[in-house]
């Protein structure tokens, strides 16, 4: 496997209005392999979203470097698809319109982007909902559209910021299985942010545990279990305890 993302000595601090500096993340070092599924877990304030936004290029590190394929990140780009917690779908576009947004602005011709959208709509199982607006869709369906939209530019990396955090428990576990299916169908490098330990174990190859104030990497746990994983299995629970004790 090749190295896809290298985060070296990254610091990020924010200035408040009164010019007080607060450190969001401190001395983060992390490498992610191509097609690896890595999850960042930790309590609120541990900087996991900040770290994700820096990989997306929406924020710049105060110090240190983030390399993707050995190139420093310079702003957001369609090579890194992003899925937000509250889908952030464009309410004025239909399902198909949202999915075609990326390709359209890259200058992909109409027929070709129709084809891309059709394929993705089938992948995320939303056939028949092509012409619905986001507000006509349920929360789970909206996140399916958001995933399809992020995949439409065919990025090699998928950045996901608590994408299932606002969903109910049943929809959430359904979406987790769906994500694994999509990930296996499209082979992407995934960085996934979550609050949920079981979600992290269920999904990832590797779990990175961050501690808050300032955000630091506290521990890394490689999940060495075949998929699909059984939530109630002995090994699952052992991982759960290991991660939980690292968080608290």
């Amino acid at each position: 496997m090749n190295e896809k993302i290298r985060i070296a000595g990254v610091f990020k601090s924010f200035k408040s209005r009164r010019n007080e500096e607060s450190v969001a993340v401190e001395d983060i070092n992390l490498t992610v392999q191509t097609n690896e599924f890595v999850t960042l877990v930790g309590r609120s304030g541990c900087g996991k979203t900040t770290l994700l936004n820096m990989m997306a290029g929406l924020l710049r590190p105060t110090d240190g470097s983030i390399l993707i394929d050995d190139q420093p990140v310079d702003g957001p780009g369609p090579d890194r698809g992003m899925v937000f917690q509250h889908s952030a779908l464009f309410p004025w576009l239909t399902t198909a319109g949202n999915i075609e947004f990326g390709p359209k602005n890259q200058g992909v011709p109409k027929a070709k982007r129709r084809e891309i959208a059709q394929e993705l709509i089938e992948l995320v199982r939303l056939k028949g909902f092509e012409n619905k607006y986001p507000r006509e869709l349920s929360g789970g369906m909206q996140q399916r559209v958001a995933i399809a939209r992020a995949l439409a530019t065919d990025p090699e990396i998928l950045l996901m910021d608590e994408p299932f955090g606002a969903l109910d428990e049943l929809t959430r576990s359904e979406m987790q299985s769906e994500l694994l299916r999509i990930w296996q169908a499209r082979t992407k490098t995934v960085i996934f942010v979550t609050h949920s330990i079981s979600e992290a174990i269920f999904l990832s190859d590797r779990v990175i545990i961050l501690s808050p104030h300032p955000g630091r990497i506290r521990k890394e746990v490689v999940i060495d279990l075949p998929r699909p994983r059984q939530l109630a299995s002995q090994e699952f629970l052992q991982y759960y305890e290991e991660i939980q004790s690292a968080i608290f």
């Binding site: 997306a56 290029g57 929406l58 702003g75 957001p76 780009g77 369609p78 890194r80 698809g81 992003m82 937000f84 509250h86 952030a88 779908l89 464009f90 309410p91 004025w92 576009l93 947004f101 990326g102 602005n105 890259q106 607006y133 986001p134 507000r135 006509e136 869709l137 939209r149 992020a150 439409a152 530019t153 950045l159």
Partner: protein
């Protein structure tokens, strides 16, 4: 799923609402007529519906003043409104979007805007007349002035309050600044721009009537004012009803336009004035 007002039951319930509204209006009219015919109300101050209808017929055929029919009055008023209002929209929307999307400009311009729109529009009429004469121009410009600030500030506010995640999402999808402006910021602003336009339309009617009351020969406002000189409350009522009918029709037209152009938007409840 959530477009409940377009389902068959939704349409039926709206029809029932409409019916109830019509029945109520007819009942009030009938009561009014009854009270006047039986001497409970003075017909001189409260001309009954039948008399107002007669008067409308007279103004339609003979005119009031003689030769100036109701159609000329309506045309004069509606044209003034549409001219001033269209000018306000054509200038107010782009200027508002431009100002709102630049933080520095927004800070620099907003105090001036707040002052300018706090000026009671009607009080500018003498100044407008001094600058532009007593003709159509000063009337239209007054409507323009009253509408412009509302449309412009709502457009500026619309851009300012766009959720940053829409912009971020567009950036991660590789959209350029221009693409983001036209494909994200503009559509995201439209619902609030529309609510500004609706408030401005109501104001346009308010100002044009005031202007016509003070200075004009034709127009529904001047019809009402002229009628006062002859103590003709039935004529005043005709002018009043015409104003509300056309005010209502234009507002409905704007609502319809919004539904057609923005099928995705939920109607905004809160409105900036």
């Amino acid at each position: 799923m959530r477009f409940s007002n377009l389902t068959p039951t939704g349409i039926a319930s709206r029809l029932i609402d409409l019916l109830i509204g019509i029945v109520t209006l007819v009942a009030i009219g009938a009561l009014w007529e009854y009270l006047v015919q039986n001497g409970h109300l003075n017909p001189y101050f409260f001309p009954p519906p039948t008399e107002i209808a007669d008067e409308l017929e007279k103004i339609t055929t003979v005119g009031f003043p003689r030769g100036v029919t109701i159609f000329s009055h309506i045309q004069a008023t509606v044209l003034r409104i549409l001219k001033g209002y269209a000018m306000a929209a054509v200038l107010g929307i782009p200027i508002g979007l431009f100002v709102g999307s630049r933080q520095f400009l927004d800070r620099a311009v907003m105090p001036v805007v707040t002052f300018a729109r706090s000026v009671a529009t009607i009080s500018l009429l003498p100044l407008m007349v001094a600058w532009f004469g007593v003709g159509e121009l000063s009337r239209v410009l007054l409507v323009f002035y009253g509408c412009f600030w509302v449309i412009m500030t709502n457009s500026a506010f619309a851009v300012k309050t766009i959720h940053p995640q829409y912009i971020q999402a567009a950036e991660t999808l590789g959209a350029s600044k221009t693409q983001i402006f036209f494909q994200v910021m503009l559509p995201a602003s439209l619902p609030r721009i529309f609510s500004g336009m609706k408030v401005a339309l109501g104001l346009a009617f308010l100002y044009i009537v005031a202007v016509e009351l003070i200075n004009a020969e034709e127009g529904l406002g001047s019809l009402i004012w002229e009628a006062r000189t002859f103590y003709r409350s039935d004529t005043m009522m005709v002018g009043l009803f015409m104003l509300s009918i056309f005010g209502f029709a234009l507002a409905q037209g704007l609502d319809l336009l919004e539904k057609v152009l923005l099928p995705w938007a939920e109607s905004l409840e809160e409105i900036e004035r």
